[in-house]
Symmetry: C2
Subunit: 153 residues, 2 copies
């Protein structure tokens, strides 16, 4: 007879459920800032990283927001062209360029952050305080564990 373990119920399968939840949340959030500010998801993430940690080099941005350097480069190019980010060559190491938000970039950042936090709060409203704490702790442990699984093959 077939072992029960050989049946994959997609709707209960953890990788699948994580994927559709993250996609739904990401799209909902994008709806909030795409209209008013016309930012791609990658551009918004770069702005969020620089708004919190500037100045950063492009690779440091990539480490913060888990984006590869090509994606960062392209997002930064778009933001530079629109005057939301400023770039200054590092005089000590001229391969590097330090990035920070321009005044307009800071303004955009300051207007998106409350929208983003408000959305997060509305999402978290599905859970009470104790459940939020649990969910955060459990998802963090899953993330750490998934990273170590990946590294070990």
């Amino acid at each position: 007879m077939p072992s029960p373990s050989q049946v994959l119920e997609l709707e209960k399968f953890l990788p699948y459920r994580l994927s559709i939840l993250a996609q739904l949340v990401s799209e909902s959030l994008h709806d909030l800032y795409a209209g008013p500010f016309d930012l791609a998801v990658t551009e918004w993430r770069v702005i969020a990283a620089l708004g919190r940690f500037a100045p950063l080099t492009a690779s440091e941005v990539g480490q913060r927001i888990v984006m590869d350097k090509v994606a960062v480069s392209r997002a930064v190019a778009g933001l530079l062209k629109r005057g939301l980010v400023e770039r200054a060559a590092d005089r000590a190491d001229r391969r590097r360029a330090l990035l920070r938000l321009s005044p307009r970039g800071r303004s955009v950042h300051a207007r998106i952050v409350p929208l983003a936090l408000q959305y997060e709060a509305r999402l978290y409203a599905a859970l009470n305080a104790e459940e939020r704490r649990q969910f955060d702790a459990l998802s963090d442990r899953l993330f750490i564990h998934a990273q170590s699984l990946r590294r070990s093959g």
Copy 2:
């Protein structure tokens, strides 16, 4: 003074954390079946849906796995070309086509499912039984709630 609520700490921001967790898990899983079977994520999902619920029409597949009809159409085209899926016109409504796995498709499905379940088990090993139950319940509630937020704007 600036309100604390105006600071967005990306590394604690729920949409961001869900996104990188889902991405990491999805890529890790893809590593398992991409090498041996050369399937795209969308193709694997179609196979999983048909392996569990066949026969389905293309739109039913899309509903099951939350993929738009263009993506389903393309994945099915690739799977038909490679002989992993069979298509039969619905005689009662000739717009519709019923899809099911071919013998080769069933074989691929039967070989991937244990890999996928094994990966899920290794991921879940980060949590004990009670914690898994909690995480599943909480993430389900977040998903349901995110859906209703999206619908209500």
